[in-house]
Structures are given as C-alpha cells and as structure tokens.
Amino acid sequence: MKISISKIIIFSIVIFFLFVFWRGLKINNNYDTKSLIGNRISNFQLSKIDNSNQYISEEDLKKNTYTLINFFASWCSPCRTEHKYLLNLSNEKKQIKIIGINFKDKKNNALSFLKELGNPYDFVGEDSDGKISILFGIYGIPESILVDSDLTVIKKIVGPIDQIQYNKILKLTQ
C-alpha cells in the first residue's frame, strides 16, 4: 500500500472517532453516584418490615463499626444471586452489621423470599414506595452501601455482590 496524505488523514479521522466513542463509554455517568463516597448519610428513619413498630435511624448505625446497607426485593433476580454472599458476610464478619432495605416490594413476598433463602440481615426496613432508597442515591437494585461508624460512605456497590466485591468488602473492613 502506498502511503499518501489522504490515507493518513482518513485513518486518523477513523482513529479519532473510535477514540471518542471509547472515551464516551467511560463518561457515560448520567446516573453514577460514585460521588457519594466520602459523603455522610444522615436524616433517615426506617420502619421494620414486620410492623412491630420498631424503627432504626442514624443514631443506631453509629453504634456499629461498619454497616452494609443492602437494597433488595423479592422480584429482583440478581438479588437472588448475591444473597449467598450476604449470608456468608453475616456469618463470618461479626463487626459488619447488615441492614436490608426492601425496595418497592410486597411485605409478604419479601418475608417469604427471606424464609426461602435465609435471612442475613440484622434489620430489615421497608421502603414500599422506593422513596427512602432515593435519598440514598439508589436507582436500581441490587445496590449496597458500606458505611463506617461516622456514617461516612466508604464503598458503593452497584449490581449484585460477587466474589470480587465480597473480597473488597472484607479488605475494607479489616
């Protein structure tokens, strides 16, 4: 192939286009809530799912060394796949308390979901209309937020927890 100016120009234009596309993939962060890390969560109150008139609020979380807030629902299939990691976590790491927030779900479905797969949560709060979850910056489930005793967000996991994420959680909480 003879190299000519026009060919070089055409190749460079193509490379430039592809480069922009590739960068475009990375900046596509319309809903990204990574910026949440480092912020503190505050002002929330959750009522327990079984109607026992129990509440949990930020004061309760301050007692824990670490709290993992997990958003789940019985209708969410990836929630099923991440469930075993949550069970492992609650069995093995005593310094992490797990709070489940039941997102846009029916109470009975949620309870039978936990009955079927096991209950890893120290507290299950209900959020049937999804409003509390929005305050946490949740846009789809499963999502999880790891906070320390200051209630500062140290990790946010979008999508189901897998082995990699699980190991990261263990590392962060050592």
Partner: protein, 628 residues
C-alpha cells in the same frame, strides 16, 4: 433444559463457522470452478441449527420457562401469546440472537443463489460473512447469552416493558434487522470482490437483489417505527430526530445511494470503487448505530441495553471491521477514470449520491456532536430538530426537482432536453401552489418553494404513469412509485406542518374548552381493568361547530403491573382529511388533567406516501430478472 439445548445449538453454529472458514480456505486453493459439496452442507447445517436455537428461545417465551434469565426478565405468564413471542426479540439478548440468525441465513442464501458467479468471490464472501458470524457469536456467548439459566427458578417473570406491547413494535425489530443486518452480506461481498478481483458489472449483478431486499426492509422498518412512535409514545408527531431514529437513518442514506449507483455500475461498468465504499459503509454504519444505541452513549426510548461492557465489545469489533475494510480497500484500489456527460442519467444518479452523502453527514454531525463535546470539553448540549430542519429542508428542494428530471435522461448522453415539459410542469406546480394558498392560507417563501418542488415531482411522476399505461414498460414502474411516494411525502409533510392546530390546556371533568371551530367537552372518567393493566379512560366530546359534527375521543392513562409503569395512550381519530389527537395526563394533587389537543391534516397520507416509497422497492423485487 432449554438452556442446555440453546447453548449447545449456538456452540455448534460456532464450531460450524470455524469449519466453514477452514474448508472454504482449503477450497480456494483448488482450481476446480465448482464449490465443494460439503461446504454447502456445512452451511445448511449452520442455518438449521441457528434457526432451531431461535425457536428454542421462542418456546421458552411461549411456555414462560423462567429458568432462563432472559425469559424471567422480559416476560410474564399473564402476557397475551402474541407479546410473549414478540418478547423474544424485545430485549438485548434475544435480539442479538435474531441478529446472528439473519447473518447466517443470508450467508447461506447468498452462497446458494449466486452459483453463476466466480467461485473465489463466493468463497471469500462466505469466509468474511463467517468471520462476522463468529464475532457476534462470541459476543452473544460471552456477554449477552439469552440462554443463561437462573436457579432457583422464579415463579413469575418481570414482564415486558409495556410501551413495547404494541403490534407495530412487535414487527418493527425483525423488519429493521433484516434491513440492517442484511447489509452484512454485501459488506462481505465487497471485501471478497476486492480480494478476488471480481468487480464491475458481474459484482453489481451478484449483490443487487440483496441490496434491494435490505433497502425495502430498512425503509419499511423505519416507517413502522415511526408509526409506532406516533400512536404509542403520544408526542403527536411522526419524526423527532431522536438519536435512535437518526441511527437508523444513517445506513438508510448510504444504502439508498448504493442502490442508485449500483445501477450505474451494472449498466455502464463504472463507479466500482464508489459502490464498494458504499457497500462497506452501509454495514459499518449499521454497526455504529447499534453501538451508539446499545452502549448507552445515546439516551433514547431504546433503553433496554445500556451496559458499557457491551459497548466495549461492539466498539472493538467495529474497529476491527473498519480497519480491515480500509486496509483491504487501499491495498486493492486502482485509479478509475470517469467519463460522464452532464446530460446523462449517470450524472443525475451521482447527484443523488451527493445529496445522500450530504444528508448523511448532517445527521451524523447532529448525532455525534454532543458526544464529542461531552468527551472533549465536558460540556453537555443537545442537538434538536431545529438544527436538522434548518440544514436539511432547503436542500430538499433541488433534491426533489432532480429526482423528477434525472430519470428522464438516457444513459451515456441525451440529445434531447425536455424543456417544454419542464416549463409546463413548473407552471402547473405554481398554479396548484397558489390554489392551496387561496384555499387554506399563506405560508413562508421557503414553504412555497418546497410545495412547488414537491408538486413538480408529483406531476412529473403522474406523467410517467400516463406513459406507463401506454407502453407497459415494467422496468420504470418501481422507480415511478417510489419517486411519486417521496414527492407526496414531502407535500403532505409540508401541508401537515403548515396547517396543524395544537393546543395545551388543563381541564377537569365537566368543563368545556373552545378552540377555533371546535368545542371540547370533558364528560367523564372511567376505570377499566384489563388483563395486564388498569386504565383510566377519559371521555371527551369533540364538536365541530361549523359542520355540527360530533365525535368522541377516549385517551387513556394505563397503569401496568408487571413491571409497574405508567403509559399515556393518545386518543387518535384518523380520517381521510385529518387526524384528531388528544392525550391526557394527570396533574398531581388536583382534579385537573393536562390535555393536549391537536388537529393534524392529512396525517394518514404521510404514512401512505412513505409506504409507497417502500412499495416501489418491493415491486422491483417481484419483477423477473429479464425485466429488471
């Protein structure tokens, strides 16, 4: 169970692809002019398996087999059967399987139906097509497998997005896929043609049917999508310059240019490299469109697939396609001399190509500019209809006029110039335009010119029809239908744009609103339970005060349960002369409803004329070879 069957079928297709590439490259070295029988057999097996795998998925959807994640996430037992089946391709994974199906089927058909052509050319085409098949199969298996299973098996599925539950939309993806993925075959053929030095007239003959097929389906697919947007999305228009619509237009411009210049290649044996460029870019643009839509870079109604990992894969594959195409093209390209007379048909076809290229670049810029700006400077802007309208509409005027005159010229060189006919038709067009102004009211200079140009093309096409009735030359018929369709389309869009009536207001039950000659009475609200949604139906009485005509319009607000979604169904009364269009949406915490009322003249004629454009293509397909 189905998961295993599906995956085994797909894997066998993958293995067959490798085998085909291997045996075909062996066969390339043998000087015998006939392709070995076993290549046909392998290809036939491949087609059978891929079609079976698609049926497996359809069966999964029909039986609501929620052990497949794909079925679980996109279907529900309470869905009507029709939408269960349509759900198969109403999601990313399933539609990708359909995509591979079309790649494979076209590969087989091209091999079988082109037996008169050069062996090397056919084998190379087969090899390239199978490389494409492999690329998409790996993508399917590694990233977007529709046969992934889930355990424990859920009892109920999540449901198909309700706005996709529409007959027009159920057939829209398959049509578009035949159109867009069908382009792959002449992408492969163009590469093969370069490598096997099998160019010119015979190359044109080998691909022309495939170009026509994909052109027809693309055109039809785009129209059906537009009809769906009009009836379902309730925005009250037929074209929104939405990123996805634009993505579908890009390959359409390229393929329309290709279809025209292919005739030049066939008749005059020139423009070969230009045709190759168009072949290569049509499919490249299809994949680019897919990339932009599926990766989530562009946000639009097609939201089912924003997953960056998919984006990276498609982008990688796209880069590979572009670079190999460019390299082979530059290696094989030779100087071509063009010798066109100004007064010849080929010059006008070339003019068509320039216009198409212009439209393509305009839409491409409008579509990509926001992405570029975002990436390079971090600014967010959006390019909307005003940009496209300002840039494209004025150019439509000369385009339409050339469309009328071009076909009048003969190949190579025409001696006669139909000056008197042109003058007569122009006068006719101006008179009709004045008549419209007299009857309906005036409009801007630009609109005047557009109307005159459109009527010019319509009158010219009518003259052609008159001639056709006399000499029964079927060759001209498809072109006449499509060009007439385009003229009518421009004309009716113009009318629709000029004389639409639109009003936005709030109303509560029992209230009356007057607009020009119309009185709208919001009579009552009803609630209806349906199989998979609950509907709030408004009853509006529309009275035409001039003619004392009464009709009822019933827009709906639907609450779907699986998944929970709100959709607004417009009430549309279609008549020969105009559409009445009414949507209502609830205003939170009040008894008022927000009402959007529109009167759109000649709406149905926009669809009819657009369909005529596609019809021309289908008529061409039915013509026998010797008549073509």
């Amino acid at each position: 169970m189905l998961s295993n069957i599906g995956i085994s079928l797909v894997v066998s297709v993958l293995i067959l692809s490798f085998l085909i590439i291997y045996t075909a490259s062996l066969d390339l070295k043998i000087s015998r002019q006939v392709i070995k029988k076993n290549i046909y057999n392998l290809s036939l097996f491949q087609t059978t398996f891929i079609v079976l795998s698609f049926f497996t998925l359809i069966i999964g959807f029909i039986n609501s087999d929620f052990s497949l994640i794909n079925v679980y996430e996109n279907s529900h037992t309470s869905k009507p059967l029709f939408y269960k089946i349509a759900g198969t391709w109403g999601n990313h994974e399933g539609s990708l399987l359909l995509w591979v199906n079309i790649l494979v089927i076209f590969s087989y058909l091209f091999l079988v139906f082109n037996h008169t052509h050069d062996k090397k050319f056919r084998l190379y085409t087969l090899i390239f097509q199978n490389i494409l098949i492999l690329g998409f199969l790996f993508f399917l298996l590694l990233n977007s497998n529709p046969f992934n299973s889930i355990y424990p098996i859920p009892l109920e599925g999540l449901g198909l997005n309700p706005i996709l539950q529409d007959p027009a939309l159920a057939i829209h993806p398959p049509l578009l896929y035949v159109g867009f993925v069908g382009c792959s075959i002449y992408f492969s053929a163009a590469m093969a043609s370069l490598l096997s030095d099998y160019g010119g007239k015979s190359f044109a003959q080998s691909i022309k049917t495939w170009v026509k097929i994909s052109w027809c389906f693309q055109t039809l697919g785009i129209i059906v999508g537009s009809i769906w947007a009009y009836y379902e999305l309730g925005w009250g228009g037929f074209w929104f310059w939405d990123p996805v619509e634009n993505a579908s237009l890009l390959p359409w411009f390229a393929i329309t240019a290709l279809m025209h210049s292919l005739i030049v290649l066939e008749k005059r044996n020139t423009l070969y490299y230009w045709v190759i460029i168009l072949c290569l870019s049509t499919f490249t643009l299809s994949v680019t469109g897919t990339f932009l839509v599926r990766s989530g870079i562009l946000n639009s109604v097609h939201t089912f697939a924003s997953d960056p990992s998919r984006g990276i894969y498609i982008l990688l594959f796209l880069s590979l396609m572009i670079f190999s195409a460019l390299t082979i093209f530059f290696l094989k390209q030779k100087k071509e001399t063009y010798n066109f007379n100004l007064k010849s048909r080929e010059t006008f076809i070339l003019a068509n190509n320039w216009f198409m290229a212009f439209f393509l670049v305009t839409v491409l810029i409008g579509m990509l500019y926001p992405i570029f700006l975002d990436v390079l400077t971090n600014k967010k802007i959006s390019v909307g209809p005003p940009f496209f309208n300002i840039v494209i509409i004025p150019l439509v005027i000369p385009f339409v006029i050339l469309m009328a005159i071009g076909p009048k010229f003969g190949w190579i060189k025409s001696q006669i110039f139909f000056f008197s006919t042109i003058v007569l038709v122009t006068i006719g067009a101006i008179v009709i335009n004045l008549l419209i102004i007299y009857l309906f009211g005036e409009y801007s200079l630009l609109s005047n010119l557009i109307f005159i140009a459109a009527i010019f093309l319509i009158l010219y096409s009518l003259l052609d029809i008159k001639k056709f009735i006399k000499n029964k030359n079927k060759n001209e018929l498809p072109r006449i239908i499509s060009h007439l369709g385009f003229g009518l389309l421009v004309f009716f869009i113009g009318i629709n744009h000029q004389f639409s009536l639109e009003e936005d207001f709030n109303l509560k039950v029992g209230e009356i609103k007057k607009i020009n000659n119309y009185k709208i009475n919001f009579e009552e609200i009803k609630i209806k339970e349906s199989k998979n949604y609950k509907a709030i139906i408004g009853n509006f009485k529309l009275t035409n005060l001039e003619k004392n005509l009464v009709q009822y319009l019933n827009p709906e607000i639907r609450v779907y349960s699986n998944p929970e979604t709100l959709t607004y169904e417009a009430a549309i009364k279609t008549k020969i002369t105009s559409d009445f269009y009414l949507t209502m949406s609830n205003v939170s915490r009040s008894d008022y409803y927000n009402i959007k009322f529109q009167k759109k003249p000649f709406m149905i004629w926009i669809w009819i004329s657009a369909l005529m454009i596609a019809l021309g293509g289908f008529v061409r397909l039915t013509l026998k070879k010797n008549e073509d």
